[in-house]
């Protein structure tokens, strides 16, 4: 599985523009908010955590349709399923690669972006702390959605429709952890969701891959 992860990382480095596009989208989308709601610091500070969360969510969706799409079209998916790895391990490796190439860079940019949106600087570590499990959950659920919609017509449209409702609970607790005076409980909730998604999403995605390869 490490070999698969290294190979996929190498591929996404070669296609660096795809990865960068998600990050640029993240920055631009978050920058649009001050233009619409006004530059007033108090207002922005109240919105900042939610804006960063939603924009990170949307940006992480961008590379998902190529996660399995390219492999499906060029026949690599059959080879992956016949590599001797179980289908859920293939899906898990893909989720890891998605997090490393999208989730982690988003996490790094989220700090300066939140500062730009006037989030009080003492809240920023907390925001990043919620985004760590948040982006991981997103990668897992996104992999699930990408595998389920694989081979469907208009998969790129269908996939956000599957992923976004599933992400609502994580979004609620992630934003709540930043604004609430007692952040521990929502953080535990996020951790619990990650623990649930960690085995279930790859299993579901593996079944989706097998169905797509039929």
């Amino acid at each position: 599985m490490m070999a698969l992860i290294t190979r996929e990382l190498k591929l996404s480095l070669r296609h660096g523009a795809d990865t960068a596009a998600a990050l640029v989208f993240f920055v631009i989308a978050a920058t649009l908010f001050p233009f619409t709601v006004g530059p007033e610091p108090a207002m922005l500070a109240r919105l900042a955590a939610g804006v960063v969360w939603v924009c990170a969510l949307l940006a992480a969706l961008l590379p998902l349709d190529r996660l399995f799409g390219a492999d499906f079209e060029d026949g690599t998916l059959d080879l992956l399923l016949l590599s001797g790895l179980p289908a859920y391990a293939v899906a898990f490796a893909k989720a890891v690669v998605h997090w490393l190439t999208t989730g982690l860079p988003l996490l790094i940019i989220a700090g300066p972006l939140a500062l730009m949106l006037r989030l009080p600087s003492d809240k920023i570590p907390l925001l990043l702390l919620t985004l760590v499990p948040g982006t991981m959950i997103l990668s897992l659920l996104g992999t699930l959605a990408a595998a389920i919609t694989l081979g469907a017509r208009r998969a790129a449209v269908l996939m956000p429709l599957v992923t976004l409702p599933l992400m609502v609970p994580a979004l609620i607790f992630g934003a709540a952890a930043v604004s609430s005076p007692h952040p521990a409980a929502p953080l535990y909730m996020l951790g619990a969701m990650l623990c649930a998604a960690l085995p279930l999403a790859p299993l579901g995605a593996g079944a989706g891959l097998r169905a797509a390869a039929e």
Binding site: L11, R14, E73, D78, G84, P86, E214
Partner: protein, 193 residues
């Protein structure tokens, strides 16, 4: 060179549905070490589907597939580890070099060693096919499942591919290949679909 393979693949009464359509039914085959089976049939006869079913990618509606006398598809991962797969698509990644797909020794077997450092997107269609064949050779698995392996190959490459097949069979490997082009190798079974 490597240790020989000694296996037996048998299938009885295979039937496969795709969607609502019965693609084929009642297919039986038996292949022992060093054996080669060629699948023939017109377009749409189910050659590729049979190969996918033998690989465990497409589920069987009926029938049994056994490997050395034991049910083959009970453990899909163990079955996959016996198979070197060449689909009708080459599964070549344009962004990777030819040498990043397979070891250089395998490239030599298909005459592509000069292109090891070349990105695969610059290879011609026939060269990509040869790269995919090199991957089959490099896999070192006992059973080769090949879907139209000679598509796009020139005469010299077809001859070299025949030599690779014979070398694999000499080690006790088994080959099941679909083709509508005549590929004449000695001591070959033919299954018409």
């Amino acid at each position: 060179m490597t240790q020989g393979f000694l296996h037996l693949l048998t299938a009885t009464n295979l039937s496969v549905f795709r969607g609502e359509r019965l693609v084929f039914k009642g297919i039986g085959l038996s292949l022992s070490a060093g054996g080669m089976l060629q699948l023939r049939g017109e377009n749409g006869a189910g050659k590729s589907t049979l190969l996918r079913a033998l690989a465990g990618l497409t589920p069987l509606a009926a029938g049994t597939l056994s490997w050395d006398g034991a049910p083959a598809l009970q453990d899909p991962c163990a079955h996959a580890a016996r198979i070197a797969w060449l689909g009708h698509l080459d599964a070549v990644k344009p962004a990777l070099d030819a040498g990043e797909h397979v070891p250089v020794a395998a490239l030599r077997a298909v005459g592509l060693e000069r292109y090891a450092a070349l990105p695969a997107r610059l290879l011609s269609a026939g060269q990509k096919r040869r790269l995919a064949i090199a991957r089959v050779v490099a896999a070192g698995r006992p059973l080769w499942l090949l879907d139209e392996p000679t598509t796009g190959l020139d005469a010299a490459s077809v001859a070299r591919f025949g030599d690779l097949c014979m070398a694999h069979r000499a080690q006790g490997g088994m080959i099941i290949a679909s083709t509508h082009l005549p590929l004449e190798l000695p001591d070959m079974q033919v299954l018409a679909l």
